[in-house]
C-alpha cells in the first residue's frame, strides 16, 4: 500500500497547491480589479466610515460629517445657519449609504475622502503624528448673497440661475429649482434613505436635475440674438448701426408660414431698424433675416466659440448646449431667434454673457475656489483663473456691451436699471411648444464698464406668470437682485 499512499499524498499536495494559487489569485493577482469592480460596494462603505472633509461656502459648512455612534461612525449633514441645504443641494449632491454620492460629493470625492494624491503630504503627516487621516475641505466659489438672491428670486418657480465673475470665471451662484434636501438621503437608516432617494428621482418636476448645467436644457429664445449679433459684428459686414430688414411679418422662404414680432407691427424706423435697435426691442423679423443672411455656418461657428457643443467639468458635469445642423432657411430663421432645436444650459448663456463682459475673453467657469486642510485650514490647492476661449474680439465685445446697455436704457430690459450703475442685458421669452407657457430668460452683467458679475436666469413655463410671462417681467427681477448682491448701489 506504500505506492498508492504516495500517490494519494501527491493528490493532496496538488489540491493544496491549487488552493494556495486560487487564494493568491483572489487576494493578490486580481485584488485591484476586484476592489474596483463596479459591483463592489465596499469602497463607498469604507469612505462612509471616514472623517470626510466639509464643503464650505464663504467659510461656512454647507456639507460636513459629524461623529455618531453607529457602524458608519460619521453622519453627513447639509446646511448650516444662513445656508439653506435645499438651495445648495444641486451643488453639494448627497452622500448616501444606499445610493452612493452625487454632485460635488462625487466630483470632489477624492479630496473630501482624503484619497487624492494631492493630499499625499498630509497623509504622510498624519502617519507621523498618529492623527486619524481626514479628508480635505473643499471651498466653493459661491457668494452666499448672490446664491440667496437667486434662490429667493426663483422661489416656488421651476428654473435656474447662474452668476459668474466675468474676470475669473468663478461661479458666484448656481441655483436650480425645485430644490431638495440631501439630509434624509444621507440618513443611516437605509429605508429612510432609500425612500428619500426614490422620492427625489421620481418626483414629477424632476428636482434631481441640476437645471443650471444639465437636465433637459432650454431653448434660449431671444437671448440667443446676442450671439447672432456677435456673429454679424465678427463677420465685418455689420456694425451696430447697420440697417436691417424688420417688417411686421417676415415671409419664410420655401414655406407659407411667417415670422412675426412679439409686439404688433414693424420694428423701429418703420421696419428698417439698426442692429442695435433690433437688439434693444428684440425684433424677430430683422434677426431672422440677419440669421439667414449670415448663414448656418457663421452662426454655428460663433456658437461653438462661445462653448456650444462642448461638455465641461466645473468639476460638475455641464451638458453640451447644442446648435442644430443642416438647416433649411426657415429652420435657420427660427434658430437665429434661439428657437427650433437650439438648446442651451443657463450656464452656457452666463458664460456667453461673461465672455462679452470680459472684453471677449471667456474664462473657464469654476466652482471650487480652494481645497483646504480640514484641520489647519491651510490651502492645499487654489483655483487659478483660466481662459477658455476668445469668442469675439475686444472691439466686438465693446460694441455688444454698448448694445446690451441700450437694451436696458431704451429697450426690453429696462427692469434691470440700477441707480448709478450701468447694466447690460438681454431678455428672452422662449416658446417651446404649442400652448405651453414660454420660458422666461434674462442675461445681464454689471457694472457694464467694470463687470463684476454676469448672470443668466431662466424661469420655466413663465413661472407664476404663466402665459403672461416675459423674460423681463419674470426673470429680470431675479437677475437684478443677484447683480445687486455684488454691485454696490
Amino acid at each position: 500500500m506504500k505506492k498508492p499512499l504516495k500517490h494519494i499524498s501527491i493528490v493532496g499536495f496538488v489540491m493544496f497547491a491549487l488552493l494556495f494559487s486560487s487564494t493568491s489569485w483572489v487576494q493578490f493577482v486580481t485584488a485591484d480589479s476586484l476592489n474596483n469592480n463596479a459591483l463592489n460596494n465596499r469602497k463607498v462603505l469604507d469612505q462612509l466610515a471616514r472623517d470626510r472633509g466639509p464643503i464650505l461656502v464663504d467659510g461656512k459648512k454647507i456639507a460636513y460629517s459629524e461623529p455618531v455612534d453607529d457602524k458608519y461612525k460619521f453622519q453627513r449633514k447639509y446646511g448650516s445657519e444662513g445656508l439653506d441645504p435645499r438651495a445648495y443641494a444641486s451643488m453639494t449632491g448627497y452622500y448616501s449609504i444606499v445610493s452612493g454620492a452625487s454632485g460635488m460629493e462625487r466630483a470632489s470625492g477624492e479630496y473630501l475622502s482624503g484619497d487624492s494624491d494631492a493630499l499625499f503630504y498630509d497623509k504622510v503627516g498624519s502617519l507621523v503624528t498618529g492623527e486619524q487621516p481626514r479628508g480635505a475641505a473643499v471651498e466653493l466659489s459661491i457668494d452666499p448673497k448672490v446664491q440667496k438672491a437667486a434662490w429667493d428670486g426663483l422661489g416656488n418657480q421651476n428654473g435656474a440661475a447662474v452668476a459668474l465673475d466675468p474676470k475669473t470665471g468663478k461661479i458666484l451662484a448656481m441655483a436650480s429649482t425645485p430644490g431638495w434636501d440631501p439630509n434624509p438621503i444621507a440618513s443611516h437608516d437605509s429605508s429612510t434613505a432609500q425612500s428619500a432617494f426614490e422620492t427625489l428621482n421620481n418626483a414629477e418636476d424632476k428636482p434631481a436635475y441640476n437645471r443650471a448645467i444639465g437636465g433637459n436644457l432650454y431653448p434660449p429664445g431671444s437671448t440667443f440674438k446676442v450671439l447672432v449679433a456677435a456673429a454679424a459684428l465678427e463677420s465685418g459686414d455689420y456694425k451696430p448701426d447697420s440697417t436691417l430688414n424688420g417688417p411686421a411679418e417676415l415671409d419664410l422662404p420655401q414655406t407659407t408660414s411667417t415670422i412675426g414680432n412679439s409686439h404688433p407691427g414693424a420694428c423701429r424706423n418703420g421696419g428698417s431698424p439698426t442692429l442695435a435697435d433690433s437688439l434693444a426691442e428684440s425684433c424677430n423679423t430683422s434677426f431672422a433675416s440677419l440669421g439667414m443672411d449670415l448663414g448656418e455656418d457663421a452662426i454655428k461657428e460663433q456658437a461653438e466659440k462661445f462653448g456650444f457643443g462642448q461638455e465641461m467639468e466645473i468639476p460638475l458635469n455641464v451638458s453640451a448646449s447644442t446648435f442644430p445642423e443642416d438647416l433649411n432657411p426657415p429652420q435657420l430663421a427660427q434658430s437665429s431667434l434661439g428657437q427650433y432645436e437650439v438648446r442651451s444650459t443657463p450656464m452656457q448663456m452666463a458664460m456667453m454673457t461673461a465672455g462679452i463682459a470680459n472684453g471677449g475673453k471667456m474664462m473657464k467657469p469654476q466652482l471650487v475656489d480652494r481645497v483646504l486642510n480640514a484641520n489647519t485650514l491651510e490651502p492645499i490647492k487654489e483655483m487659478r483663473p483660466a481662459q477658455m476661449s476668445r469668442p469675439v474680439s475686444g472691439k466686438t465685445a465693446d460694441q455688444l456691451t454698448t448694445m446690451m446697455e441700450g437694451v436696458v436704457e431704451d429697450g426690453t430690459a429696462s427692469v434691470a436699471k440700477m441707480d448709478g450703475t450701468k447694466v447690460a442685458a438681454k431678455t428672452g421669452t422662449a416658446q417651446h411648444g404649442p400652448g405651453a407657457a414660454p420660458h422666461a430668460w434674462f442675461i445681464s452683467f454689471a457694472p457694464a464698464d467694470d463687470p463684476k458679475i454676469a448672470v443668466a436666469v431662466v424661469v420655466e413655463n413663465g413661472g407664476n406668470a404663466g402665459n403672461e410671462a416675459y423674460g423681463a417681467t419674470v426673470a429680470g427681477p431675479i437677475a437684478k437682485d443677484m447683480m445687486e448682491a455684488v454691485v454696490e448701489k
Partner: protein
C-alpha cells in the same frame, strides 16, 4: 520477520513539543479574540481571561490525556486543531459583533468545542487500539447509511439553502453527514482490508481491466449509489463529492487499481454533469461560478453569485495582510461565520493569514498520510488515509468554492466554521488520528494498549496439563485475533477468506520481545 524497524532508533514521544506548540496556539487564539474586541469596540473583551482559561483548560486536558494514554501520538495534531478552532472562534465572535443583533454564537461554538474535546478525550481514553473498530466494520457501514438518510425523514429533516442535509430536534440542528463520514471511513477501511484480494484477483477481465465479482463489488456499488442518492435526494453536491472522493481514495490505496479510479471518477463526472442539467440548484451553482462577476448573476435571486462575489470582494479587500481583526466588513457576505468563514478570515487576516490556515490543514493531511505509511496494519493505514484525506478534500471543496476555483458547494470549513456537528466530527477525527499515530510510532515493547495482553496463566496445573497437548507455552495471547488479521493484510497480500483464524507476525513479535518467544499458536499462512 526480524527486528521491528522502530526498535533501532527508539522513537521519542515529543510531548513537550506538543505542550509548547499548544501554548503558542492558545496564545494566538486568545490574542485573536482580544484583537476582535479592540478592532470592533476599541476595548479588549471583558471576559478575555475566562476565555483564555477555558481554551487553555481544554487544550491542557487533551494534552494530558494524550500524554497519559497515547504518549507517542503525533505532537502537532492537537496544537493545530486548537489553533484552527481558536481562530474560528475569534472570527465567529467577530461576525457576531458585526450583526445588528448579538447572538452569542461565539459562546455556543465554545460549548460545541468543549463537547468535541470531551468526545476526543473519551475516544483516546476508551479506544485503546484503533483496530478494535474493525470489529464494527459492517455496523459502521449500516450506521453511516442510517445517518445519511436521517435528513430524508419527514418532520426530522430540514432543508437549508436547498440542501437537505440537516436534522432538527427542537431548537437543535445537526448535520448527520459529518458523523457519517467517519463511520464510512471505518467501514471502507474494514471492508477493503478484508476483501481487497478478492477485489483485485478474482473476477472477469473485460477490455484488459479485471473487474471484481459482483458479490465482492456489491458494497462498492452501494457506496456509489449512496453518493449519488445524496446528490439527488439531499441536493448536496459537496457532501456527495466528499463521500465519493473518500471512497475512491481508500479503494485506490487498498487495491492500487488506477483503472477503477478513473472509472469511478468518470462515473461521478457523468453524475455531476447530469445533475447540472437535471437539477436547477446545481445548474445555478455552475452558472453563478462561470459568470460570477456579471451583474446579471450577481443580482439574481435565488441562486446567483452574490454571496460568492461578496466573498471575493471581502478577500480582495483584505489583500496580502488583511484589514486587521475587527477592521473589515465580513458581515457583508451572507454566512460569513460558516460557509464563508474562509473569506471572512481572508478579509481580516489577509493572504498571509489564509496561508497559515492552509498550511495547518496541509500539516494535518501530511501527518495523517505519514502515520498511514508508518502503520503496521492495513486497517489502520486505510483508516488514517481516509480520515486525513477527508479533511484535505473537504478543505479543497469549500475553499476551492469560496475562491472560485470550483463551483460553490455547501461544506463546512473544518474547525473554523460555526456549527456543532462539523466541529464534533473533526475533533473525533483528530482523536482517531492521535490514536492511530500513537500506534504507529509506539515501540513494540510498549504495547500495553489492551489488544495484546500478556497475562500469567492463573492455573499452573492446567497449564502443564495443556502443555502435554498441542501447546507447550505457559502464556496466553488474548484478543489477538482481531489484531492479527490487520497485520497479516499489511504484511502479505495473500488470500484471506477467514482472517479470524490467523495470527499476525507482529503480535508474535510483540509477544516475543516482551516475554520471549513462547508462542506457537495456529498457523501463520507461510509467514516464514
Amino acid at each position: 520477520m526480524s527486528a521491528n524497524p522502530n526498535q533501532g532508533a527508539r522513537p521519542r514521544p515529543y510531548r513537550l513539543a506538543e505542550l509548547g506548540l499548544l501554548i503558542l496556539a492558545i496564545a494566538v487564539s486568545t490574542s485573536a479574540y482580544a484583537l476582535v474586541g479592540l478592532g470592533t469596540e476599541d476595548t479588549i473583551p471583558a471576559n478575555v481571561y475566562q476565555y483564555a482559561a477555558w481554551l487553555a483548560a481544554l487544550g491542557l486536558i487533551i494534552h494530558i490525556v494524550v500524554w497519559w494514554k497515547a504518549k507517542y501520538a503525533d505532537p502537532v495534531l492537537v496544537p493545530i486543531a486548537v489553533l484552527l478552532n481558536g481562530l474560528g472562534l475569534a472570527m465567529i465572535y467577530r461576525v457576531d459583533l458585526g450583526r445588528d443583533e448579538y447572538q452569542n454564537s461565539g459562546v455556543t461554538q465554545l460549548i460545541w468545542m468543549t463537547l468535541g474535546v470531551a468526545l476526543a478525550v473519551g475516544i483516546i481514553i476508551f479506544l485503546g487500539d484503533h483496530r478494535w473498530l474493525r470489529r464494527y466494520t459492517f455496523l459502521s457501514g449500516f450506521a453511516a447509511l442510517i445517518f445519511l438518510m436521517l435528513p430524508l425523514i419527514p418532520g426530522l429533516g430540514k432543508t437549508v439553502n436547498g440542501a437537505r442535509i440537516w436534522i432538527g430536534v427542537g431548537p437543535m440542528s445537526f448535520q448527520p453527514g459529518e458523523i457519517a463520514k467517519i463511520l464510512l471511513a471505518i467501514f471502507f477501511a474494514g471492508y477493503l482490508v478484508s476483501y481487497r484480494d478478492q477485489l483485485v484477483l478474482a473476477g472477469p477481465k473485460i477490455l484488459g481491466i479485471r473487474f471484481p465479482r459482483l458479490r465482492d463489488f456489491g458494497p462498492i456499488i452501494i457506496a456509489w449509489v449512496a453518493s449519488v442518492g445524496i446528490l439527488v435526494f439531499e441536493r448536496d453536491l459537496g457532501t456527495s463529492l466528499l463521500f465519493f472522493g473518500l471512497f475512491v481514495a481508500m479503494l485506490y490505496v487498498a487495491t492500487s487499481k488506477v483503472s477503477w479510479i478513473i472509472l469511478g471518477l468518470g462515473f461521478f463526472a457523468v453524475g455531476a454533469v447530469a445533475a447540472t442539467f437535471l437539477f436547477s440548484h446545481v445548474g445555478q451553482r455552475v452558472d453563478g461560478w462561470l459568470n460570477a462577476l456579471t451583474a446579471e448573476e450577481y443580482n439574481k435571486t435565488p441562486g446567483g453569485s452574490y454571496q460568492l462575489v461578496q466573498g471575493l470582494f471581502g478577500m480582495s479587500n483584505g489583500g496580502l495582510t488583511g484589514t486587521g481583526l475587527g477592521e473589515g466588513r465580513p458581515n457583508m457576505v451572507p454566512y460569513a461565520e460558516s460557509d464563508f468563514i474562509y473569506a471572512s478570515l481572508g478579509e481580516e487576516l489577509g493572504m498571509a493569514g489564509l496561508f497559515v490556515i492552509l498550511l495547518c490543514y496541509l500539516f494535518i493531511f501530511q501527518r495523517g498520510i505519514k502515520t498511514a505509511q508508518q502503520l503496521r496494519d492495513g486497517f489502520g493505514t486505510l483508516l488514517a488515509t481516509g480520515l486525513s484525506f477527508t479533511i484535505a478534500l473537504q478543505v479543497f471543496v469549500v475553499v476551492g468554492g469560496v475562491t472560485r476555483l470550483i463551483p460553490l458547494t455547501g461544506l463546512t470549513t473544518p474547525f473554523l466554521a460555526q456549527g456543532g456537528s462539523s466541529l464534533i466530527a473533526n475533533w473525533m477525527i483528530i482523536a482517531l488520528l492521535l490514536r492511530i499515530s500513537d500506534n504507529a510510532r509506539r515501540p513494540v515493547e510498549e504495547f500495553h494498549t489492551g489488544v495484546l495482553k500478556i497475562t500469567e496463566d492463573p492455573d499452573d496445573a492446567t497449564a502443564s496439563a495443556r502443555a502435554t497437548g498441542n501447546r507447550n507455552d505457559t502464556k496466553r495471547v488474548e484478543g489477538a485475533r482481531e489484531h492479527a488479521a490487520g497485520n497479516l493484510a499489511t504484511d502479505r497480500a495473500t488470500s484471506d477468506d477467514a482472517p479470524t483464524t490467523n495470527l499476525g507476525a507482529a503480535d508474535l513479535e510483540a509477544n516475543r520481545s516482551d516475554e520471549g518467544p513462547t508462542t506457537n499458536l495456529g498457523t501463520t499462512g507461510g509467514e516464514r
